[in-house]
């Protein structure tokens, strides 16, 4: 009998494998971990939000119409915010000056008057 023939070789290997016993214990929750790794490998990686934004900035924003709209909107937002803040500040300063005028004329509203 020639053990070098392919059929004989397979048989010998099969016998060897059948005789093999693994004595080392598996780590805890080994099967779960394996399934999790398989699931993770099968799920397509979602592109991060930043990638989408960067992609948009790189491809869409340079379009003239979009770029002009973007700049115009930001200009309007900046100007509106500035105008709102300026109005609030002016109102505050003018209100304060009015109170100062009254305090200058009314001894009972002067800072030193303790009993009104």
């Amino acid at each position: 009998m020639n053990t070098n023939e392919p059929g004989n070789h397979d048989q010998a290997l099969r016998k060897l494998l059948e005789a093999w016993r693994a004595d080392a214990p598996l780590p805890p929750r080994f099967q779960d971990a394996v399934w999790r790794r398989i699931e993770r490998a099968q799920t397509p990686a979602a592109p991060p939000v930043w990638n989408a934004i960067a992609n948009w900035i790189g491809t869409m924003l340079p379009r003239p119409a979009l770029a002009a709209s973007y700049v115009a909107i930001l200009l309007a937002i900046g100007a509106t915010a500035g105008w709102t803040q300026a109005r609030q500040e002016s109102t505050r300063v003018k209100g304060e000056l009015g109170e100062r005028y009254i305090r200058a004329l009314d001894p009972y509203q002067a800072p030193s008057a303790m009993i009104r």
Binding site: I57, W83, A86, E89, K94, G98, Q109, A113
Partner: protein, 153 residues
């Protein structure tokens, strides 16, 4: 990508610049008022739309009234101090406290009369409509006790 980032940065820079410019010009009037020698009078001129001659007259009246006001302030302060000491010295009503309270009320009345005279004079210097508005404004802040507390609520 580079061009897109450039546009992004340009938009943000323009927004910041627009904010700064509008804020700067929007507050210039208030800033100018604060930088004058007498900001409260400058405010009065702007608020009640006074001409230069009206403003000059109002400033003169104001300057003439201030020494009277300072004297009243001194008296009010002294009276307050006296009342405070009397109240701290006892735990019952005394004739001295009663007379101090009456003097305080009298002082307050005198103070209000002086103020009102001044307000009328100032209002007469202004154009009629502005004068009425001025009187309503000062009345609300000086002659309607409790209004401030109502507003605070």
């Amino acid at each position: 990508m580079k061009k897109g980032m450039l546009i992004l940065a340009l938009g943000l820079a323009l927004a910041a610049a627009a904010y700064g410019c509008v804020y700067f010009f929007g507050t210039s009037s208030a800033r100018n008022l604060e930088q004058t020698n007498e900001p409260e009078l400058a405010w009065l001129k702007e608020e009640f739309h006074l001409s230069d001659s009206e403003f000059k007259r109002v400033s003169e009246l104001h300057a003439a009234y201030l020494p009277q006001c300072a004297e009243m302030c001194r008296q009010v302060e002294a009276q307050n101090q006296r009342l405070k000491e009397l109240l701290a010295a006892t735990n019952q009503m005394t004739s001295e406290i009663e007379s101090a309270i009456a003097e305080s009320a009298q002082l307050r009345g005198e103070c209000q009369r002086n103020m009102l005279r001044h307000f009328y004079e100032v209002s007469r210097t202004m154009p009629p409509e502005e004068g009425r508005r001025y009187l309503a404004w000062v009345r609300e802040r000086t002659f309607l006790p409790g209004e401030g507390m109502m507003r605070a609520k």
